[in-house]
Amino acid sequence: MRIALAGNPNSGKTTLFNAITGRVEHVGNWPGVTVAKKEGDVKKELYKGKKRIRVVDLPGAYSIAPFTSEESVTSTFIKNEQPDVIINIVDATNLSRSLLFTTQLLELNIPVVVALNKKDLVDKKSIDIDVEKLSKKLHCPVVKTASLNGAGLEELLIKAEEVVGTVQKRSFTEEKTFLAFTEEDYEGKEKERFRLVESLVKDIEVRQVATAKENGSDQIDRIVAHKYLGIPIFAAAMFLVFHLSQSTVGPFLADFLTGWIDAFGEGVANLLGENVSPVLSALLIDGIIGGVGAVVGFLPLIMVLFFLLGLMEDSGYMARVAVVMDRYLKRVGLSGKSIIPMVIGTGCAIPGIMATRTIKDVRQRRTTAMLTPFMPCGAKLPIIALFSGVFFQNSAWIGTSMYFVGIFIIILGALMVKKITGEGAARSFFIMELPEYRVPSIKRALLSMWSQGKAFVVKAATIILLCNAAIHMMQSFTWNFQVVEEGMEATSILASIATPFSILLIPLGFGAWQLAAAAITGFIAKENVVGTLAVVYGITNFINVEEFELISGAGDVASAMGLTTVSALAYLVFNLFTPPCFAAIGAMNAELESKKWLAGGVSFQLGMGYVVAFLVYQVGTLVTTGAFGQGFLPGLVAVSLMVGTVLYFMYRKKPSYEEELKEMA
């Protein structure tokens, strides 16, 4: 038996879905969180019957006629896949708009059960709804639910099973005026539908407070979305998130974890003692334990980050961020909606890229999808933390400035895309529903944190572990499968593969094969950069234990890597602003849907990483030493070529819009 969950955006579908299936799908207090359908089975505890019930969570829709891409998803699913029952989740605090969709669903010849959700809010607002009357008028069962605390769910499922296979009467069948409208006069019919819904609502609902007046949420918005205060508040909020995760709470917890990891490593080393061949013990201790341990040590930072992001997403602030940023994003050809994927991207770029589906305009959607990876994601945090710890005395400014650089690149990129694709594209309107603020649920944020943390550990134990082991083996052996001698590292397999690439990186200040190898492994997972560095330089000790108080050790690490402060910064920038991990590129591919855009996007990312690193290194070296760094000229040539190509695309003569229209006519 298949149940589909349909309803207005932000009405509580995904929360309900999580509650009855036990899954932890992404929830957020703004319209447009769910962009794809999700399936799951009903938990055994809730359903006593025999059948296996499959639940499908759909994106929110205001009506059955699809306008946004999410609405299309819902509409197509219901029409093509013919679920057995539709549970229509209705936000009880807004009946007059929600019931429009309800009555449309009732005409599809699929049994419907209405879940009158958010009853906790309804009670708080002293709104009285006559449920029985509503049920009678709609000709379908109505169950009061509150998906946040789980109320009414069992009853909902029971009713759902009851209606399977039944035929429900359509609403308003008694209304002659309604039936009088023909299929062609769609607008007229829908207007009449609205009118009938309105009178129905008046009949069953008693409100104490008129909603058109200003309320608490609006007053908060006066400040938060203020013309001048909005941006600083947003900047402060983001800074708080990063500061807590990277400079205070995160590292504090990480300290304990790295202590354990290191103790574990030492314990194993002691166990093995002298009897084991150095190659094998090195592989196990430095390669596997060291490499993975280096990465896992950063787990607390990432978990704190996701926890805080979860709080922010739940509060309802995200919609306001879109409003605040709309003015500025319009100037670069995007809209306020584009900021949400980017904020999500600070956790992980993949859900951020998927969130671009809520953007209607195709060009804007693609641009946003392409630019979202420039916001440093959770996986890049270990890289930032490592470098800021080793080279910059743990200054909090390194991390923060990386985000600003990301923002700057995004602005630049948006402008470039605007120029290249021609500004003749229609301006799309910005409209966003503003949900009520609510005190974010700690439970939900913890769940999000837990699921991300679990995923991270799984990733570390699989992909990163395999990569590190491979890297270690490749650096321990030459092509003849002979063990590499001390000091002869350059003869290893790894060195010979990475060296050609490292030559390209000389103008950027980090032309060592080890660094090139680390950057390359970063494409598989950005955490690999840290892991590979740990393996390749055998500096696991420093990274694990003293990473955040690396004063004595820093010098050693720095000299081991052979990097000056400037080139370290260049390397950091390079890794942060090149194309993201393959998984994210895959997500980009799915959203861009155009090989041309994908190629353009990835090349842009590659080029950007190279150019920015080049600038940082050369200008930095010039400033600190008065002379350009190595490989200045070849690098300059390469950079000029890249910039030149982009400029060409931006300013080439295109047929003006008028001519295009004439051609089309």
């Binding site: 006629a65 197509t76 699913f77 084991v276 395999l466």
Partner: protein, 61 residues
């Protein structure tokens, strides 16, 4: 003797990692360790891509 033990441990660990990846692949999870591994890159009804193309409203139904 110690060598063999270590070797076994290493192989065991690597094997378990690969096996987990293999199992994920079979379950359709696109990338292990990503919390969104299941929904990554999938549209709703994979046969029906029409929702992404034009957005001409289908009002007359």
């Amino acid at each position: 003797m110690g060598d063999l033990l270590v070797l076994l441990v290493i192989v065991g660990v690597l094997f378990m990692a690969s096996w987990k990846l293999y199992r994920d692949k079979k379950n359709g999870i696109k990338c292990s360790g990503c919390a969104y591994g299941k929904t990554c890159g999938t549209t709703v009804c994979s046969e029906d891509k029409s929702y992404k193309k034009s957005t001409i409203p289908v009002l007359k139904k």
